[in-house]
Amino acid sequence: MRTLFISCFLFLLTHSVFADTIFKEPKQFIDETFQQKVPKPKVIWLTKKLKSPIKKILNHKYRTLRVRYWGQHNKTAWILEETGKEEPITVGIIISNNHIEKVQILIYRESRGGEVRYPFFTSQFNKTHLTNDHKLDKHIDGITGATLSVNAIKKLSRLALFLHQQTPFSKNH
């Protein structure tokens, strides 16, 4: 048994392949979203009127004065960050026709819980809308041991849906 364990250790140590926790560069996400015809980025200034609902969504104040986004027809794309357990998670979110078209984990920095980047988790957000009280209209199943990362991604999804409603690309604008 001891020999088996030591063999496993040596195997894992010698067969490591360098890879980064950057799963996709934000620029690549935007390029792919708009098929290389990327519109000029726009900005939403977080006025007093927007700060209160954003604080309710995130359970804390948003850390910047404005949020950058890209928009075309009825679609917007967002690169947002929220802390999971200790580190920020960078997430790309596409909103189309006032629902989530795609959630993609771009950069994951925590040492555990990285399963949140896989489609078996992120595909749950597809076609999700925002309710009147700024919650998702669908239940999202979590991943054991990654609760804080799951919560962070849910908050960013709600935030992106809310911010989309403030843009000229929203159907209800």
């Binding site: 048994m1 001891r2 088996l4 364990f5 030591i6 496993c8 250790f9 894992l12 140590l13 490591s16 392949v17 360098f18 890879a19 980064d20 926790t21 359970n59 850390r63 910047t64 004065l65 404005r66 357990k85 200790e86 580190e87 920020p88 920095r109 040492s111 555990r112 990285g114 399963e115 896989y118 078996f120 988790f121 749950q124 239940h139 999202i140 199943d141 979590g142 991943i143 054991t144 041991g145 609760t147 919560n151």
Partner: protein
């Protein structure tokens, strides 16, 4: 005619002046916008550097009220825990967990002071390859459900379940080296060589040395495979082997093998957990050469902030004994989360202890948090 021509000339001059004024004003507006954007960039840059401190502090805690028939009712700040972490680089990080149990530690000659101050985690994590980590130091053994994840808002019931507490025995930490990472999407592994338990009679929970000047004559080897390939589900199994549970103190071989397996399934508002664990220890004849336990826990979340649970559990620390020494328990209760990181708990328990021929019926209340 001359008047009309001069009027047209005057009008053209006025338009041109107006146009020049508009252009000048637009240039001023553009310059102001550029200054506003630059100011916002600078403010956000400052805010970002100060908010991304390399040193983090976190914690959790829980206060319990226990009212069990046949015992004095008790109120106890069971755990006050602080996490300290530091990021040396993106790939090298330090994690630690410092705990005070039962609110007070008194220095007494016989050590009967009730409280404990413990270092439950202190390790360096090396992210040597994208999805693979090496950790060196004192860390939690990768086994069970609550051994690694036990912040109060993450589980039902005021007290941690007895099966994992008595059989696994959570919370269980050792010191050594460990690898963990991802084999394929949703499939993770943990492999660890660490210090081991130290006990000559097979009392597993008492055998935890807690890395306090621990005897390391016989190390422990742990391996776990965990699958979380579907959101809301987890299936895992752990094996641990130690060549001599007595660390050389016993004259007979005391090899010990732990097998643990569990399943967690959450689908919408419903959830269920099931866990089984067993020890096989050589060289004993007091019944403790076999120990096992299991529990099943269905849950239902009425809303995102209110959930119900029930738990059926049984464990036996001397399962090889000729008499029934099992401890059976039924629990039922609820969790209320006024905030995702704060929980209020209630449960009713009904325990039959066949080992001591006693019962423990009553209720428990608790409040807990993590940040």
């Amino acid at each position: 005619m001359m008047t009309s021509l001069s009027n047209v000339t005057l009008a053209a001059t006025d338009s041109e002046e107006m146009w020049n004024t508009i252009k000048k004003q637009q240039a001023q507006i553009d310059a102001l916008n550029a200054k506003i954007e630059a100011t916002a960039d600078a403010m956000e840059s400052n805010s970002s550097s100060s908010s991304q401190s390399k040193t983090t502090i976190g914690g959790y805690g829980e206060l319990h009220y226990n009212n069990i028939k046949g015992k004095d009712a008790a109120i106890d700040f069971h755990r006050f825990v602080l996490f300290f972490g530091h990021k040396f680089t993106d790939k090298i990080k330090f994690y630690s967990e410092f705990e005070l149990e039962h609110a007070l530690v008194k220095d007494t000659d016989d050590g009967s002071n009730g409280g404990e101050v413990e270092l439950e985690q202190a390790f360096i994590d090396f992210n040597y390859a994208g999805n693979h980590h090496l950790k060196a130091g004192l860390f939690l053994i990768p086994v069970g459900i609550i051994n690694e994840t036990h912040e109060p808002p993450t589980f039902y019931g005021v007290e941690r379940n007895n099966v994992e507490k008595q059989i696994i025995p959570a919370t269980w930490w050792e010191a050594g080296l460990g690898f963990n990472g991802e084999i394929s999407p949703g499939l993770q592994y943990d492999v660890a060589i660490t210090s081991g338990l130290n006990n000559t009679s097979g009392s597993i929970r008492s055998g935890r040395q807690k890395v306090a000047k621990a005897t390391a004559e016989d190390l422990a080897y742990t391996a776990r495979i965990k699958w979380t390939g579907v959101a809301g589900m987890e299936f895992a199994t752990t094996l641990q082997y130690q060549t001599d549970l007595s660390q050389g103190a016993s004259t007979t071989a005391n090899s010990a093998l732990l097998i643990e397996a569990h399943a967690i399934v959450n689908m919408g508002k419903f959830g269920i957990k099931a866990l089984y664990a067993q020890w096989d220890i050589d060289g004993l004849s007091n019944g403790a050469e076999e120990q096992n336990g299991y529990y099943i826990e269905p849950t239902f979340k009425i809303t995102d902030s209110f959930g119900l649970f029930a738990r059926l559990s049984e464990y036996d620390k001397t399962a090889a004994s000729s008499t029934d020494t099992s401890v059976e328990q039924f629990d039922i209760g609820f969790n209320y989360w006024p905030h995702e990181n704060v929980v209020i708990k209630f449960d009713y328990q009904n325990q039959d202890n066949n080992a001591s021929n006693s019962t423990a019926k009553g209720y428990n209340l608790g409040v807990g948090y993590n940040f």
